[in-house]
């Protein structure tokens, strides 16, 4: 297969410094602060300090009303990017997908539900409909008619860098011709109170790399890139803005919030991106730094730059004072800055800098100036020591990006915490009696596996992930290990408790331990620390197809030879609010029971595993059409898999009633195509209904494949439109 190099053909951006690429580039070039006093919500304790807040009337102009604030930001940026690329998705079938970085999701809107409940005792769950981090992906996909792979990635401040990297992998591996990628995040009381609780906010506005810097500034926004294979862009005569020539991901595996003091993870991610692009450090002409303005980040990042570039650190700048720190969206917004810098051949300045810090020993670009730029780099670092680095190059360059190989994906071990865990007793609703088929263990039963600090500091979701990972894989520092552990709804208990406390006590007595635990990538990040895993560390979220999204990312790391082993999984927990909202909406009944649990699977190439449990021989992600058509779905599966190898179809039926008839219809249509009746089995009667349930289904599939010595097809539909098919063979 000829290499399919990813190129950028469209940009869209929404920020406090302007709407649209042109307006934003003018603001970047002017180098002025885009920060203004907070007006979005009342902050009794911190008042109206400056932020990169976007005016509400601008957001409401044109965006779909049935959506969260993050959704609206993402949608507006997507509309601009699609128009910029002059692309029509009508005849693209399922060749166009979407991967976005989002970490706040609909939190800003959901907080209104919690505030009304806590302060007035009113149960009004409507604003929580768009709570999920994957909501923006689903909205854009439905709105613009995308039927290719779709997922969100929630690794805090590095989310959109990882999303863009994964979108590039989708194109390189031939899974899609075009990907919308980038990120969107709105401001929220949660992140506002959270960063304040960590004493990481500079009330005078962030001053990256300056000697007197005192922290970050909050921001919000969205940026979307249209990424497509070069051959697709050339075929349709598209204008190529830049190439995405390299991407690198790594994990510090050091601490939940603090970066590695020597910038070890950042260095590894930069080196990985250079390796992938086939470039020497000297080829980089500009670095858009993560540069949050916190004391620790800026020092660690400067050390990383000096480690990679020695005494020839290229011109660099942080644009955080222009936009504020838009968290998950920042990597995508800075990608737009990088592409524009290449197009204009100009170096963006670093507002807020005036005095060199001896601990940094480097000075950023202070004024916009012309420079010949061929390759530029963007750094993004997040909580959990999660690092993502992207390299953009001029369209005229000859790409040398390495293509993925075909590998035999082999399962070395599985850890499962399913229903029946002792801690489930905390939940008052009826729970299913079943237990995990491969390995079932309660958190309390295995709590002895955890260190005292893990027991006192981490909540159930992280503990479940650590324990299941230990059951799946024995840490081996000699091996390169990548981790992708997704979650549908994240650490509900930490997030709920944090906001509850914030609202009830008017921001007094914040909970600094809860905040870093509340991010979606805290289970993956804690597993990395526990396993000493320095490879990619991702936390995908994609409704009911969250696990399959993690599986895809793990396989990708093996296929690109970035890792020897991949730990992939998913985890979700039930909390009192989710339980009560579900009750209010009539989601739970005698047959549809609320569930929770965690599954982690250890994968590697066949040569690395002595006694494999089974193999993953096919994985396909996409979106189904609405109204649902079982025949089209059966044909989509049949195009990806040799049906003669399938004995059992395993699906998430016996869960939400909307999905039940669809699974039955696809089973019937697939049997017809196969010319024989496929055995249809289900797993949600065993594990209950939760976003990560298909991870539990995967463990059932492995068990069935082993027991019956046959191929098992795991088929999953999300309520919001994503789908996945995965073949497990002995």
């Amino acid at each position: 297969m000829p290499a399919r190099f990813p190129v950028i053909t469209g940009l869209g951006i929404v920020s406090a410094a302007g709407f649209g690429t042109e307006e934003v580039w003018r603001a970047v070039a002017a180098g002025a602060s885009g920060l203004k006093p907070l007006t979005l919500f009342q902050s009794p304790r911190y008042g109206q300090i400056v932020t990169g807040e976007i005016q509400r009337d601008l957001i409401d102009a044109g965006a779909p009303t049935r959506s969260s604030r993050s959704d609206k930001l993402g949608w507006l940026a997507a509309r601009e990017a699609i128009a910029d690329a002059k692309i029509n998705f009508q005849n693209c079938g399922d060749r166009v997908g979407i991967i976005l970085g989002t970490s706040v999701g609909g939190s800003y809107d959901s907080e209104r539900f919690l505030a009304a409940l806590i302060k007035q005792g009113k149960m009004r769950p409507r604003p929580t409909r768009f709570h999920e981090c994957s909501s923006t992906v689903d909205l854009i996909a439905d709105s613009f008619g995308l039927f290719g792979p779709s997922m969100a990635i929630a690794t805090a401040c590095s989310s959109s860098a990882l999303a863009i990297a994964q979108a590039a992998e989708m194109i390189m591996s031939g899974e899609a011709d075009v990907m919308l990628t980038g990120g969107a995040d709105s401001m929220s009381r949660m992140t506002w109170g959270g960063f304040h609780s960590l004493l990481l906010v500079d009330s005078a506005g962030c001053r990256p790399f300056d000697a007197t810097r005192g922290g970050m500034s909050h921001g919000e926004g969205a940026a979307i890139l249209v990424l497509e294979s070069e051959e697709n862009a050339r075929r349709r005569g598209a204008k190529i803005l830049a190439r995405l020539s390299g991407w690198g991901m790594s994990c510090d595996a050091y601490h939940a919030t603090a970066p590695h003091p020597q910038g070890a993870g950042a260095t590894a991610a930069i080196q990985s991106a250079l390796r992938r692009a086939g470039l020497e450090p000297a080829a980089i002409d500009y670095v858009n730094a993560h540069g949050t303005g916190t004391r620790d980040n800026d020092v660690a990042e400067a050390i990383a730059l000096k480690t990679v570039f020695h005494n020839r650190v290229p011109p660099f700048s942080s644009t955080k004072r222009i936009f504020g720190h838009a968290l998950a969206a920042s990597g995508a917004m800075e990608a737009v800055v990088c592409v524009e810098a290449l197009r204009h051949q100009q170096l963006p300045p670093n507002p807020g800098f005036s005095k060199c810090d001896p601990a940094i020993g480097l000075e950023p670009v202070t004024e916009m100036r012309h420079a010949p730029l061929t390759h530029v780099m963007s750094n993004s670092f997040g909580f959990g020591g999660n690092n993502g680095v992207l390299i953009f190059s001029k369209p005229e360059t000859t790409p040398r990006t390495r293509a993925p190989k075909k590998i035999q994906v082999t399962i070395g071990g599985i850890g499962v915490i399913g229903p029946g865990a002792v801690t489930m007793k905390e939940i008052t609703a009826p729970l299913p009696p079943g237990k995990g088929p491969v390995h079932s263990c309660g958190v309390l039963k295995d709590a002895a596996m955890l260190t005292p600090n893990q027991r006192r500091r981490l909540s159930r979701l992280q503990q479940m992930a650590i324990i299941t990972a230990r059951h799946s894989h024995t840490p081996d520092p000699a091996q390169r290990v990548a981790i992708a552990i997704g979650t549908g709804l994240g650490c509900l208990e930490d997030a709920g408790t944090f906001i509850e406390n914030l609202v009830a006590k008017d921001e007094r007595e914040p909970m600094p331990t809860r905040f870093p635990n509340s991010v979606h990538n805290s289970p993956a990040g804690q597993v990395a620390i526990d396993q000493v895993a320095h490879g990619m560390n991702s936390a995908p979220t994609a409704g009911e197809t969250t696990f399959e999204s993690a599986l895809w990312q793990g396989i990708c790391q093996l296929a690109t030879d970035e890792a020897d082993h991949a730990l992939v999984g998913a985890a979700d927990e039930m909390d009192k609010y989710l339980l009560s909202i579900g009750q209010r909406w009539g989601a739970w009944n005698e047959t549809i029971m609320p569930g929770e649990g965690a599954v982690v699977v250890s994968l590697a190439g066949a040569e690395k595993i002595a006694s494999p449990l089974a193999r993953v021989t096919m994985l396909k992600l996409g979106r189904y059409r609405k109204p649902f058509d079982a025949q089209i779905e059966a044909e989509w599966i049949a195009a990806a898999v040799d049906l003669t190898k399938v004995e059992v179809l395993l699906s998430g039926a016996k869960g939400f009633r909307q999905l039940e008839p669809r699974y039955q219809a696809v089973a019937a249509a697939l049997s017809k195509l196969a010319g024989r009746t496929l055995e249809h089995q289900t797993y949600k009667q065993l594990c209950g209904e939760f976003h990560s349930a298909s991870a539990f289904g995967f463990s059932v599939a492995v068990s069935l494949a082993h027991e019956k010595n046959c191929g098992v097809l795991l088929y999953t539909l999300s309520q919001r439109g994503a789908k996945a098919a995965c073949l497990i063979e002995p």
């Binding site: 004493l199 005292p452 006192r456 007595e509 600094p512």
Partner: protein, 85 residues
């Protein structure tokens, strides 16, 4: 005003959810962070919350608290000096 180090230790144990440890087992001069009790920067932030909640001392910059967080003794002295009368 003097602060009882015993009471302070009890508050630290409760605030940080330290397990299997009693105030008697914590030495007044032993380092709280790094080796000692094995606490880290997030625990330091929990102590910042404790100082405000129980003693009315507001810390806005963690560097301000760093010398005070060396041991229980230095923390007690810091509280005695800074506590609003």
């Amino acid at each position: 005003m003097q602060i009882s180090t015993h009471d302070l230790k009890a508050k630290i144990i409760e605030s940080l959810k330290l397990q299997d440890i009693t105030p008697e087992q914590i030495d007044d001069d032993a380092p709280l962070f790094g080796t000692g009790l094995g606490l880290d920067s997030i625990d330091a932030l929990e102590l910042v919350v404790l100082l405000e909640k129980d003693y009315g001392i507001v810390i806005k910059d963690i560097e301000e608290g760093r010398p005070a967080f060396r041991s229980v003794k230095t923390l007690a002295e810091f509280i005695a000096a800074k506590r609003p009368q």
